[in-house]
């Protein structure tokens, strides 16, 4: 018996060392570790990246930009005045908005709940700088699809007012699906949730005599057009996110959403500016579509393992009854 336990110990030790080497250790060496900034949008990573490029002018520009953002954040915003100014935003950010310069402006219905205050300020001030994709606009932010905002809302107090309005009136309870729709789905489809860049795939019917579904064909054509515009604007079609939850670690996804450049330098993916609540909801949705069996596993797991523990105990008694008179 003691000898068997000793052998078991050796086998278990080798197995665990093997596991450690090919899983945690290998993965820690293979992937660059990016520290999370705890979803604080203060431009720290942006400035460090500019410093790494040894571009003095860019470093100064970034420092000044994020210092300005910090200053605006200290102003007291007036939500009522903000609502009037928000009319400018609603001209593009509305239901049934059309594609503008490659991407369809997202709904802002829950912007106050999903996004960080400092990020929203930065976004209105300069969308390319805020989302850390200014390297894509060498001719200035005006060529960004949202670039014209600077000609509409530019005074610090106006920005503070609009953000105060969003935080007060465009907040409220948000479902995981709404979070995904507003923060991600303008660029990313999720086919397992039956969503395209244009939202939920509508229910259509085939003509029973021909077997053809003309409404679906028309919809598919609209999706293809939208995807074509996106691919043209971003350089490639952003990936479908149905199962991204299994393809990347949660830490990768969170730090990537916080600052895409940190994980994938040069990417066209803009920073999302999600706050803790927004991140949690988006992750919840990605987990639902990417790992839908989690609730069923939690229910069945203890029963199956319990069964095998009982099985083992009974097998032990059986074995003992047969081996008792052998030695």
């Amino acid at each position: 018996m003691n000898k068997e336990l000793k052998i078991l110990g050796i086998v278990a030790a080798f197995t665990l060392i093997l596991y450690w080497g090919v899983e945690p250790f290998a993965h820690s060496q293979m992937h660059k570790h990016v520290e999370s900034n705890e979803l604080v949008y203060d431009g720290k990573a942006d400035i460090e990246e500019a410093e790494a490029k040894k571009d003095e002018a860019l470093v100064e520009k970034k420092k000044k930009f994020w210092a300005d953002v910090k200053e605006i954040a200290q102003l007291k915003g007036d939500a009522v005045a903000g609502e009037a100014t928000f009319g400018m935003c609603a001209g593009c950010h509305m239901d049934g908005a059309a594609n503008m310069g490659g991407v369809t402006p997202p709904s802002l219905d829950h912007a106050g709940a999903l996004y960080d205050k400092n990020f929203l300020i930065a976004l209105i001030k300069d969308p390319a700088m805020a989302t850390n994709v200014d390297h894509k606009y060498p001719n200035g932010t005006m060529s960004h699809p949202m670039g014209s905002i600077s000609s509409m809302v530019s005074a610090s107090q106006d920005i503070a007012n609009v953000v105060a309005y969003l935080k007060e009136k465009k907040a409220g309870e948000v479902t995981p699906k709404e979070a995904f729709t507003e923060a991600c789905s303008r660029c990313h489809a999720n086919r397992y949730a039956k969503m395209t860049q244009l939202g939920d795939i509508p229910k259509t019917k085939s003509n029973i005599k021909t077997g053809q579904d003309i409404d679906r064909m028309k919809y598919d054509q609209k999706v293809a057009t939208e995807q074509g515009a996106l691919a043209e604007y971003l350089g490639k079609l952003p990936p479908d996110l149905s199962i991204i939850y299994r393809a990347r670690s949660e830490h990768f996804l969170e730090t990537f959403l916080e600052n895409p450049q940190g994980q994938l330098a040069g990417t066209a993916m803009p920073r999302t500016g999600l706050n803790h609540e927004g991140m949690e909801k988006v992750m919840e949705f990605l987990a639902e579509t990417g790992d839908p069996s989690a609730p069923a596993r939690a229910i069945a797991g203890p029963w199956v393992i319990g069964f095998f523990i009982l099985f083992t105990l009974l097998a032990y008694l059986w074995k003992n009854s047969l081996w008792r008179d052998l030695h």
Binding site: I17, S293, A296
Partner: protein
């Protein structure tokens, strides 16, 4: 014709036609196994059980899997995982089982090496076992292609490329294997056929053969002791169970196997429910894309040691080293020149050889996954050279071994 009389029971009726009593005696109650064994002797039946689990879970998955390059990925990741009741359970069982079957194979192999269970008439047990190892490797590789994710596609690309033979530039052979210039529909269809039909058939045949090779030379025991099985069997049959050195396969040996299996299944299902990610690489959850090479391409853990034997050398040398590594374990009964059948700890230098080989293969496995850069490359190269040095040393140190 045999003499058939009115049977008084179903058992008797069957016995008259199938000789079930004789079969039961020959295969179970009078198939003698040494008593002096430990739980490592249960690994064979644990393997048989794991193969059974893989077969059953595979049959369930096969009902919904769609072997087309357009639909394969979603049939696995959406249909089976979301729409099929408990589809996720069968998939996780299949994935975890495929990984654990190799863990048990390696334990089974190194048990055989430690106790010298490949010598003196037991060579065919070892050779048929190694044949099973190669067949399981082919089965694992072909199965890995089926979800048609990024790692399926690129592993398929890399491994089939090996057949070009480096400087031989046998590109025609590679195309013939793939059925196309790159892995595509023809490639997926044939690996699907191999995985669900041809290889499982051959594996079942090889398992039967492996069992058959055990019969005449008998199973080895913890001390490598050579004793008269007939004499021991007589003692047992006369009720002198304490004095006898053997036990019947069924039910006595099997009862311990079932107990060990129980412990194994607790671990198995713990992994299935709570820790399955280790067996399902994240990279393979991105759909296959021939235009986007993943940053790191590496095989599953059980192929890493031989992959690392390939990597640190130049193309041609690496391929030769890799080819040798694939078959070198077949030769152990012939390279081990010692007459002793005994556990390694009583065999002097061979004891050292055993642990050196085990640790070296562990190091190769670690390095096989890490990116081949800097210090990792150097360690990998040294470990690969040590691997070959150990095989060259084996006949020399065993030849000079003292007879026990």
């Amino acid at each position: 014709m045999a003499r058939i009389e009115n049977a008084k029971s179903i058992g008797e009726w069957l016995d008259q036609r199938l000789a079930v009593q004789t079969l039961k005696r020959v295969l179970q109650t009078e198939y003698w196994i040494p008593k002096n064994i430990n739980f490592l002797w249960a690994m064979g039946m644990v393997l048989a059980a794991t193969f059974g689990i893989l077969l059953v879970s595979g049959i369930f998955l096969l009902m919904y899997y769609n072997p087309s390059t357009d639909l394969a990925f979603d049939s696995v990741n959406y249909t089976i995982m979301t729409e099929v009741g408990y589809g996720w359970l069968w998939r996780h069982i299949h994935g975890v089982g495929a990984s654990l079957v190799f863990l048990i194979i390696y334990i089974h192999m190194f048990t055989g090496i430690y106790y010298g269970s490949y010598k003196k008439g037991r060579e065919l047990i070892w050779l048929s076992g190694m044949l099973l190892y190669v067949l399981f490797s082919a089965e694992a590789f072909s199965g890995y292609m089926l979800p048609w994710g990024q790692m399926s596609y690129w592993a398929g690309m890399v491994i089939t490329n090996l057949f070009s033979g480096g400087s031989l530039h046998a590109d025609g052979l590679v195309e013939w294997i793939r059925g196309d210039y790159v892995p595509a529909q023809a490639f997926l269809s044939r690996f699907f056929m191999l995985h669900v039909l041809l290889l499982p058939l051959v594996i079942i045949g090889a398992i039967v053969f492996h069992f058959g090779t055990l019969r005449i030379p008998h199973v080895n025991n913890q001390d490598g002791e050579d004793f008269d099985f007939n004499e021991a069997a007589e003692l047992y049959k006369n009720g002198q169970k304490k004095e006898s050195k053997v036990i019947p396969f069924s039910p006595v040996f099997l009862s311990k196997d079932v107990f060990v299996m129980g412990i194994y299944f607790v671990l198995f299902f713990y992994l299935v429910f709570y820790h399955f990610e280790f067996a399902m690489d994240p990279v393979n959850f991105d759909p296959a894309d021939g235009l986007k090479t993943p940053t790191h391409i590496y095989p599953e853990w059980y192929f890493l040691w031989s992959y690392e034997v390939l990597r640190p050398f130049s193309t041609n040398v690496g391929l030769i080293a890799f080819a040798i590594a694939q078959v070198i374990f077949f030769t152990i009964p012939f390279l081990d020149r010692s007459p002793n059948v005994a556990p390694a700890n009583r065999r002097g230098l061979f004891h050292l050889w055993f642990w050196a080989m085990l640790v070296d293969m562990l190091v190769l496995t670690f390095m096989g996954k890490l990116p081949p850069q800097g210090i990792w490359s150097t360690i990998g190269l040294v470990a690969a050279l040590v691997f070959f040095a150990l095989w060259i040393a084996l006949p020399i140190i065993t030849k000079s071994e003292k007879k026990l």
